[in-house]
Symmetry: C2
Subunit: 140 residues, 2 copies
């Protein structure tokens, strides 16, 4: 079972950004740290900004910052936002999937949906503040 | 969030095999039905047999059958078995992953593991009997 790379790096970026809420993080800085293309990182930041998690400011001293306190950001909500354009758990749960030959008689789909909800609910028990990298630790 | 294709097709094969516990299903029959290569399907059947879920018999009237009653097979256990060789939820949870630069200080990994456990626990509330395709429905 795998989250999209988009979510994986989105979470890492947020852990880092949450480590120092007082300053902006440039796309270049985050991209370099994770060995990602700036283009990819920019798309992640854009999604998080559209979802109201990050705010971005151009220019010197600008960059991406948390739009709301880390303690108010539930991890399940963050993952749901980042996964939005990703694949479903199985082919038939992916948006735009072909009609299934056993649709309406399949007992699996609803159970996978409930399991996914349980996954997100468990993540929702924590907030971004719980996984922020402590500034001192970042500098090690 | 996505299960491996191995798991996706493994579940579909089991739903079909459980629809008629009285007969064996050949790899060719299942592969044709799902539009998969026989090689791929044979690997799935092999894994399920190794895990004690299917028994296989060669020759006429042979094929793959459930090794135990469908009502005793918890879906979480089935998915865990099928996912075994798959990727972890994120890069750093994948077997053989490179050492993480924040290992020991990362609060995300343990939370993802707990969420995955909640996912499997929810699936474990159902058995293969709950998702078996009814024989009559199979024939439609």
């Amino acid at each position: 079972m795998r989250l999209t790379a988009f979510t994986d790096y989105g979470l890492r970026a947020l852990m880092r950004i949450a480590s120092d809420p007082s300053r902006g993080f440039s796309t270049a800085e985050l991209a370099d740290e994770f060995g990602l293309s700036r283009h990819h990182l920019a798309k992640i930041v854009q999604r998080l900004a559209q979802g109201g998690i990050l705010s971005t400011r151009r220019g010197g001293g600008g960059g991406a910052m948390l739009a709301v306190p880390a303690g108010t950001l539930r991890l399940g909500a963050v993952v749901r936002l980042l996964e939005e354009s990703g694949s479903g758990l199985v082919d038939c749960l992916t948006p735009g999937a072909l009609a299934c030959t056993v649709d309406g008689r399949c007992g699996l789909k609803s159970r996978l949906r409930r399991a996914e909800a349980a996954f997100m609910a468990e993540l929702d028990r924590s907030t971004l503040a719980d996984i922020a990298l402590h500034p001192l630790e970042v500098e090690q």
